[in-house]
Amino acid sequence: MLEAVALSGGYGPSDILREVAITIREGEAVALLGPNGAGKSTLMAALTATLPHRRGVLRFGGEDVSGVPSHGLVAKGLALVPEGRQIFSPFSVVENLRLGAMKLGSRATLEERFDYVYSLFPRLAERKSQRAGAMSGGEQQMLAIGRALMSKPNMLLLDEPFLGIAPKVIDEILAALQLLRRDGLTFLLVEQKLPIALMATERAYVMIKGHIVLESDCPSLSQRSDIHDLYFSLSSPQQA
Amino acid sequence: MIHTRFASAMAIAAGLLAGSLPLVQTAAAQDVIKIGVITDRVGSGKFYAEPVTRGIELGTKIINEKGGVLGKKIQLIIEDDQNRPDVSAAKARKLVDDGVVAILSNTGSPATQQAQTVSLETKTPHLTPANSADTLTTQLDNPWFFQTGPLASIQLATLMSYTKSRGFKKVAIVRDNSSLSQSFAESFRKGLEGVGIQVALEEVIPQGATSAVANLQKVRAEKVDAILQAGILGPEMLQFFRAYQQLGMKEPILGSYNLSIPAYLTMAKDLMDGVVFVDAYDDTKPEAKVFHDIYLKEYKEEPSSLPAYGWDGIHLIAAAITKAGSLDKEKIRAALASTQNFTGAIGAKGTSWSFRDGKRTGFDPQGAVVRVIKNNQHGPVVHAGQK
């Protein structure tokens, strides 16, 4: 479904991403692992056309979307839950969700999407009119995911959704992700912590200093008990 | 053979013809009198200068129709100085190079001042028919330069004598915050205090104001006998009249030539009736009537007073050349300087232009008038001179 070929670029004249190539097939759940500063969020920006300088080829749903702007990608079915949630704090839950559905056509679809998101995250239904900025971190994360889902995406990118969230809420979100998988959603999950990533996905890429250095299925990765050792060994000179 | 001879004959004929052309030209050149005009067609002085220039053109046409001067036609050479002093001097020089025997300056006083340096150096008779700055003949000792425009000092004195004659005891001055308006207001104040009238209040309408209601409420509260308007900015002038009407005020409004701008009659239509201003034109004067009728016939519209200055200016020059009996610039200068009692379209009834006592300002001290605006037109004279 999603294919990146030789993706390079950054926020300024110097490149953060170097020749990144990833492929995600329809229905897959893939993780993107790597230490802080590896360029994972930068890659998310590149995939959603919010990175100022980007070279390389991006294909989505079989189409070349290298020149398509962010709002166009959403229209084609690609949505991002950004790092740090980035919800619209002064707006209510309903207003936030409504804005996620900007590309939707008919009224019927809108109602249906609201029902779907509320069924996935009942807590949001309880807090419909509440100001988003007043909610807890976990609830805001649910809102961010729900908002991304409002556009009925075929593929979801999630950038570190579990950062700073209480374990109980993490479980709720993971459960929701499972449901989404069952409904056929493809997703790419950026995550620092290996155990959580392994619970949610079946395959993983590891990124270090802007390069993809490893691709593996999750069962094999789960043999490694200490992710830090892994990162360390991967970033040693012979791998660079 | 025949072709060669024929060709040579043609060549000789062509040569003779070409050789004789300069002769033809010189003969033609000797049949006109070149007079230079400096005007502003595009710049800030456009709406003062162009009407005056039109008056010169009209006067020239009439003079030429009557046989011209010394049997020759007047040819006007008109240059545009964009009302810029440096350009004005350059254009004056160009005119002299083109062979003019006299220059008429119609643009702003600073531009005329700068052009004077050229008339002094090239010893060319130089006249400003409309400039009113008092210092034009005093700042530079230039015996070639003459000013027949209505001096600001004369206009102010005329206004003051009218104000006094109305019996006003206490007045307000309203101005805008431009420096020109400020100096107008200062001269008003001095003049008023000089004739024993109290200035109770001076209100300033700043440029960019959206309402003059507050200013005029203060004036109204002061209960003055009259308002002296010293403004020069159009939009702020309009605010003044709007607020005056809105507040239902009735105090008489007086101004100097700052209120004589014809454009204000359109801008402040129906708001200026009864306002008095200073001018130098009385349309009941016979010479003014003659000018008026010819202008109306030619241009199919009513003239303001501005073209009359130009009309008089070119007639004055023509008269001086006739008196001099030659195109010699010194003779023309002398003839100009000895002008006495030149009665033109400009000036109150019974007044005339004269360069008395060696002075080079010719406007009659009694020549300014106070006129009233009536039916959105510059109306009749209500006061003349400065007695």
């Binding site: 002064p90 | 209100e203 104001a209 959206t210 309402s211 709007r242």
Partner: protein, 298 residues
């Protein structure tokens, strides 16, 4: 007391004009962070278009009633705003230029517009006919010119409409979203380019209306733009850049300060001009976000 009531009408009307200018800044500023100082010239353009449509002074009259003139001003200014955004702002934004670049470019646009107006119409002020005529009108205890009451009514309508748009419609919320978090808004599928273009078009239309509304009182004049731009900016600073209501409040406070000061302050008339500018400096020093707090911005 009569003075005060008359002054209230006059100050409210002037305040409405300042408020419209502040609104024009705000509509563009919120989603783009660009301060468009050229809006003064757009107001002047609106005034001249009004004169052109309603009189024969500029070109043969179209014999159009007032509402048509309003519609023409809105359309012409909307197109101009859109064109300016496309030609001067968008190329800079595309190249990733810092926000100061479009601001400077728009100063250039200011000069171009003013010189064009000067070339086309010259230095004379042109009268603009007020749609309700001119006289002293008394409504209850208040007295003023019909045009002043008209300005107040139209401004309140515009503000109500804009407030409704931003607070109650999805597209208005989308604008707000862009103002709150540009990148997140793009990720929602909101077309940033279209939002920017619409903001400029709407800002221009509002400024054009301000010019059309004030010109019966002040004339259409090539120099009228700069004072309006400054007054609008001052109103914006006082009222706060965050909310539409702030623009209205700021405009009213500025106008009342100006006119009540001119009437009642016991200082020479020439100095009353300093009063609103002192207010501006005071606000910039003490409360730069203005009176009405903005929504939190991420």
């Amino acid at each position: 007391m009569e003075d005060f009531l008359e002054l209230t009408v006059s100050a409210t009307a002037s305040g409405c004009i300042y408020a419209l200018m502040a609104l024009s800044y705000l509509i563009v500023l919120r989603p783009t962070s660009i301060i468009n100082f050229a809006i003064g010239e757009w107001a002047a353009t609106g005034a001249f278009v009004g004169v052109g449509v309603l009189t024969t002074l500029l070109w043969p009259r179209l014999d159009a009633p007032y509402p048509v003139a309003v519609a023409i001003v809105l359309v012409v200014l909307g197109l101009l705003g859109w064109a300016v955004e496309r030609l001067t702002v968008r190329p800079l934004v595309k190249r990733g230029a810092p926000v100061t670049s479009p601001i400077l470019a728009l100063l250039g646009v200011l000069v171009i517009f003013r010189e064009t107006l000067t070339l086309l119409f010259g230095a004379d002020p042109f009268p603009s006919p007020p749609p309700l005529g001119y006289r002293r009108l008394e409504i209850g205890p208040f007295a003023g010119a019909p045009q002043q009451f008209f300005i107040i009514a139209v401004t309140l309508t515009i503000f109500a409409g804009v407030w409704y748009f931003f607070e109650r419609t999805v597209w208005g919320r989308a604008f707000e979203a862009v103002a709150i978090n540009r990148r997140a808004a793009a990720l929602m599928g909101i077309n940033l380019g279209r939002v920017t273009a619409l903001a400029f078009a709407a800002g221009a239309a509002v400024a054009g209306m301000a010019g059309l509304l004030i010109s019966p009182l002040t004339s259409a004049h090539y120099m009228m733009g700069l004072p309006l731009a400054i007054q609008g900016f001052t109103a914006l600073v006082i009222g706060g850049v965050g909310r539409v209501e702030g623009a209205l409040l700021g405009g009213l406070i500025l106008a009342f300060a100006e006119q009540l000061g001119a009437r009642y302050l016991p200082i020479p008339s020439g100095l009353t001009l300093a009063f609103p500018f002192s207010l501006l400096i005071l606000f910039l020093l003490l409360r730069p976000t203005g009176l009405i707090a903005p929504r939190e911005v991420r």
